[in-house]
C-alpha cells in the first residue's frame, strides 16, 4: 500500500446513507483525509480519477448493466470494500426478490414497467470478489474509522463473528424476548454495540447472519415465545433475503 493510498467511493442501488455516515465523520473526516487521497466521491466531490488503490462500494447490484461497472471497479482497485448492508448482504433491496418481477414492475411503474431494466437484487460478493466488509444499515462511524486505520496499516479488518446478543448483554438491555418482541440479535453478527436494541427497538438483522449462527436454536426460541412462522419470516426476509438457507 502506498504512503498515501488513493481512495474512491462508488454507489449502486442504495440510499447513500453509508457515504453520508462517512461525510458525517465531521472533524474526524479531515483527519482521515490527511492520510489518504480521495480521488472519487461523487456525493461531495466533482473531479475524479480512475487510478485508485482502495474502492469503497455502497449499494446492491440490481440490474444486468451494473455488472460490467462493478467488474471494472474490481479490476482497478487493489482492495474492494463493501460498505453497508446493501453491498455486504443485499439488504432491504432483496425484499423485491420475493415478488414476481412483472408484478413489482407494474405495481410501481404501471404500463411503463417494461422500460426498466432490473433483476434480483444481490450483494457485491455475488458478482465480484470482495476483500473486506463493513456491515450495517447504516454503517457505524467508529467501525468505519477503525477499518480505515487497519487498512492504512496494511491489515484487513475482520468484523466480530459472535452474535449481537453478546454486545446487547454488555449494554445492559433487557432481552426483547422477555418483553414479548421478536428480535434477530440471537443470530445477527455483532459489531454495532446492539445500537437498535439500546435505542428501544429490536435487532433487525442488518449486519447479516453471524458465521455459524444456530438457526435451529433460533427457531426453537421463536417457537417457545409463541411467534408464528409468518412473523419470523417477516423479520428474516427484511435483511437476510439473499441468504439461500432461509
Amino acid at each position: 500500500m502506498p504512503n498515501k493510498p488513493k481512495v474512491a467511493f462508488f454507489d449502486f442501488a442504495g440510499c447513500e446513507g453509508d457515504q453520508l455516515q462517512v461525510a458525517n465523520l465531521e472533524e474526524r473526516l479531515l483527519d482521515i483525509v490527511s492520510h489518504i487521497e480521495v480521488v472519487r466521491f461523487r456525493e461531495i466531490k466533482t473531479l475524479k480519477q480512475d487510478n485508485y488503490d482502495i474502492a469503497f462500494v455502497e449499494g446492491s447490484i440490481t440490474r444486468p448493466e451494473d455488472e460490467p461497472r462493478i467488474r471494472e471497479i474490481r479490476k482497478n482497485a487493489k482492495i474492494l470494500v463493501a460498505l453497508g448492508a446493501c453491498a455486504t448482504i443485499g439488504g432491504i433491496n432483496c425484499l423485491k426478490n420475493f415478488i414476481n418481477e412483472s408484478e413489482y414492475k407494474s405495481t410501481v411503474y404501471g404500463d411503463f414497467g417494461r422500460w426498466y431494466s432490473t433483476y434480483a437484487a444481490r450483494p457485491l460478493s455475488a458478482v465480484v470478489k470482495v476483500d473486506m466488509d463493513i456491515h450495517g444499515c447504516p454503517i457505524d462511524r467508529n467501525e468505519f474509522s477503525r477499518a480505515v486505520k487497519e487498512l492504512l496499516l496494511g491489515k484487513i479488518y475482520s468484523p466480530p463473528d459472535y452474535p449481537v446478543c453478546v454486545e446487547c448483554k454488555m449494554a445492559g438491555n433487557i432481552c426483547r424476548y422477555e418483553q414479548g418482541r421478536l428480535c434477530l440479535g440471537i443470530i445477527t453478527r455483532a459489531g454495532c454495540g446492539a445500537c437498535c436494541v439500546t435505542e428501544g427497538s429490536v435487532c433487525w438483522g442488518c449486519r447479516g447472519l453471524a458465521p455459524e449462527a444456530n438457526m435451529d436454536a433460533a427457531g426453537q426460541i421463536m417457537d417457545e415465545h409463541g411467534f408464528s412462522w409468518l412473523e419470523a419470516q417477516d423479520h428474516l426476509r427484511l435483511y437476510f433475503g439473499y441468504n439461500g438457507k432461509l
Binding site: 425484499l95 426498466y116 445500537c195
Partner: protein
C-alpha cells in the same frame, strides 16, 4: 440498446438544426456530482456554442419500494421506507408514521408531536448544512469539493463542520442516531431524551445560532456569485395558519386553493413524458416547485424573528423567482429551525419529559395519508392497510420527482443566457441550477433509466 438510443438522440438533434449551422455537439455532464443520487445533464451545442437543447435525465437504478412494502406488517413500514434515502431518513419515517396513524385513526400526545417536530428540525439542519456547505459552497468559491477549503478557508470550514456536528448531535439526542433512527414509531416514541440531554442540546443550539450567523455573513458576501436568472413558477408547500409548516399542514400553492393532504393527487397529477420517460408532476401550469424556496415564498411571514433578519441580510424577499436562491432559502430555514427548536425545547423542559407509553394501536382496514415538509420539499406517503395491518398498496410522492419538470422548464428558459459561453461555463451554470434544487435522486422511486451506462469522462463532446 442504450447506445442505439443515444445515437438516435444525436441524429434527432441534427435534424432539428438549421442547415447553415454545421457541427452540432452534445455536451453531457454524466453523473452530476455533489448531489444525492445519479443524474445527467445533456446539452446540445451548435458550432458557435449556441445551446440548441438542454435536458435533465436521471439514471438511478429503480428500487421498487412501493412494491417491497406490500404485505408487510405496519410495524416495519417506517423502518423499510427510511431506506429510500439516507439523508431524508427521518422525514420518510415521520411521513410513513403519519400515514399509518391516519389509516388506524390514531392520535398521539402533544409531547410526541413536539419531539417529532424537533426530529424534523434536526434533519432540516443536517441536510441543509450538508447541501449549503459541502455541496454548493465549492461552486461559489471555484473549487471542486469541500476538501481544498481546508487550506484556503479554514475558519469558515471549521465553523461549518462545527454546525454540522451540532446538527448531528441534535438528531442523535432526539432520534437516537443520525441516519435511519430507531426511536420514532407509530403511536409515539420508543425512548425519550433525558432533560439533562435537552439542557445540553439547548446550549449547543444557542451556540450554533451564532455559528450559523457566520455562515449567513459568508453567503451574504458571496451574493454576487449567483447567476441572475428569474423564472416565476408555481410554488407548492404545506401551509398552516399558526406556524411555518413542516410536520403538518395542508397543501398550499402560490396559484391554487389549499387542499387537505388526502387530496394530494389533485395537486401532483403525475404524468409521463415521451422525451424523458420519467414521471413528472404539474398542477395549474407546466410545472411547480417544492422545497425551501417554495416554503419561503408561501410561509415567510411565519419564520422566526432571527430567520426573518437573516433573510433580509441575504437579500431574500418573497416572492423570489430565482431558483438558484433555493440554497439561500435553506440557509434562512437553518436559522428558523435552530430558533424554533430552542422554543420547543424550552417548552418541553418546562413541562418535564414524560416517559409516555406509545398510544395503543387498533389495527383495522383502511387508507391513510401522511404529508411532511422534508428538506427538499413536500413528501407524501399514502397507504392502504388490510384488516391484518398489512400493506395492500402504497404510493410515495417524493419532492425531487415534483421538481424534475420544473428543472427542465428552468433549463428551457435559461438557454438564451447560455448561448456563446464556453462549454465549461455552461456546464457550471447548469450544474449549479440542478444542484440548487438539492435533488435527492435515490429517493425518486418513479424514474426510468434513459441514458444507461456511465461514461468515464465528466463532460462529453460529440462532433457530428
Amino acid at each position: 440498446m442504450e447506445k442505439a438510443k443515444s445515437q438516435k438522440k444525436i441524429k434527432n438533434s441534427k435534424k432539428n438544426l438549421q442547415p447553415d449551422t454545421a457541427g452540432p455537439r452534445v455536451l453531457e455532464v454524466k453523473h452530476l456530482t455533489r448531489v444525492e443520487g445519479h443524474g445527467n445533464i445533456v446539452v446540445e451545442l451548435d458550432s458557435k456554442n449556441h445551446v440548441q437543447d438542454c435536458k435533465w435525465h436521471v439514471v438511478e437504478a429503480p428500487r421498487f419500494f412501493e412494491a417491497m412494502v406490500q404485505g408487510r406488517p405496519y410495524e416495519d413500514i417506517h423502518h423499510i421506507v427510511s431506506r429510500i434515502c439516507g439523508i431524508c431518513s427521518i422525514g420518510h419515517q415521520l411521513c410513513s408514521i403519519q400515514a399509518t396513524e391516519d389509516a388506524f385513526g390514531l392520535n398521539v400526545s402533544e409531547q410526541t408531536l413536539d419531539l417529532r417536530k424537533l426530529a424534523l428540525h434536526a434533519e432540516n439542519l443536517q441536510s441543509h448544512l450538508l447541501h449549503i456547505g459541502y455541496l454548493v459552497l465549492p461552486d461559489l468559491l471555484g473549487v471542486d469539493s469541500v476538501f481544498p477549503l481546508a487550506e484556503t478557508h479554514r475558519d469558515e470550514l471549521v465553523n461549518l463542520v462545527a454546525c454540522r456536528r451540532i446538527s448531528n448531535e441534535f438528531s442523535r439526542i432526539i432520534c437516537g442516531r443520525t441516519t435511519h433512527p430507531q426511536r420514532l414509531i407509530p403511536g409515539g416514541m420508543e425512548i425519550f431524551p433525558t432533560s439533562q440531554e435537552l439542557v445540553e442540546l439547548k446550549s449547543k443550539l444557542e451556540q450554533s445560532l451564532d455559528r450559523i450567523a457566520g455562515i449567513v455573513d459568508l453567503f451574504a458576501a458571496l451574493s454576487d456569485k449567483w447567476p441572475d436568472f428569474k423564472r416565476p413558477t408555481e410554488y407548492v408547500a404545506l401551509v398552516s395558519p399558526t406556524e411555518y409548516a413542516l410536520y403538518s399542514g395542508e397543501i398550499g400553492s402560490s396559484k391554487d386553493i389549499i387542499r387537505p393532504a388526502m387530496l394530494y393527487q389533485q395537486v401532483t397529477n403525475e404524468y409521463c413524458v415521451p422525451q424523458s420517460t420519467a414521471k413528472w408532476t404539474r398542477n395549474t401550469g407546466d410545472s411547480y416547485m417544492v422545497g425551501a424556496l417554495a416554503r419561503f415564498n408561501l410561509n415567510h411571514r411565519l419564520l422566526s424573528p432571527r430567520a426573518q433578519k437573516a433573510a433580509q441580510k441575504l437579500g431574500l424577499k418573497a416572492p423570489e423567482y430565482n431558483p438558484y436562491l433555493n440554497t439561500i432559502a435553506q440557509l434562512v430555514e437553518c436559522v428558523h429551525s435552530a430558533e424554533d427548536s430552542l422554543e420547543i425545547i424550552s417548552r418541553l423542559l418546562d413541562q418535564g419529559i414524560k416517559e409516555e407509553k406509545p398510544a395503543r394501536i387498533r389495527v383495522k382496514a383502511g387508507k391513510g395519508v401522511g404529508a411532511v415538509e422534508v428538506p427538499r420539499g413536500l413528501l407524501i406517503h399514502s397507504y392502504e392497510y388490510s384488516d391484518q395491518g398489512r400493506i395492500i398498496s402504497a404510493d410515495c410522492v417524493i419532492p425531487t420527482n415534483q421538481n424534475h419538470s420544473n428543472i427542465q422548464m428552468d433549463m428551457n428558459a435559461i438557454k438564451p443566457m447560455l448561448s456563446g459561453l464556453d462549454p465549461e461555463a455552461i456546464e457550471l451554470k447548469l450544474s449549479m441550477l440542478v444542484r440548487g434544487y438539492d435533488p435527492c435522486i435515490s429517493c425518486s422511486t418513479h424514474l426510468i433509466d434513459v441514458t444507461g451506462e456511465p461514461k468515464e469522462s465528466l463532460v462529453k463532446f460529440i462532433r457530428v
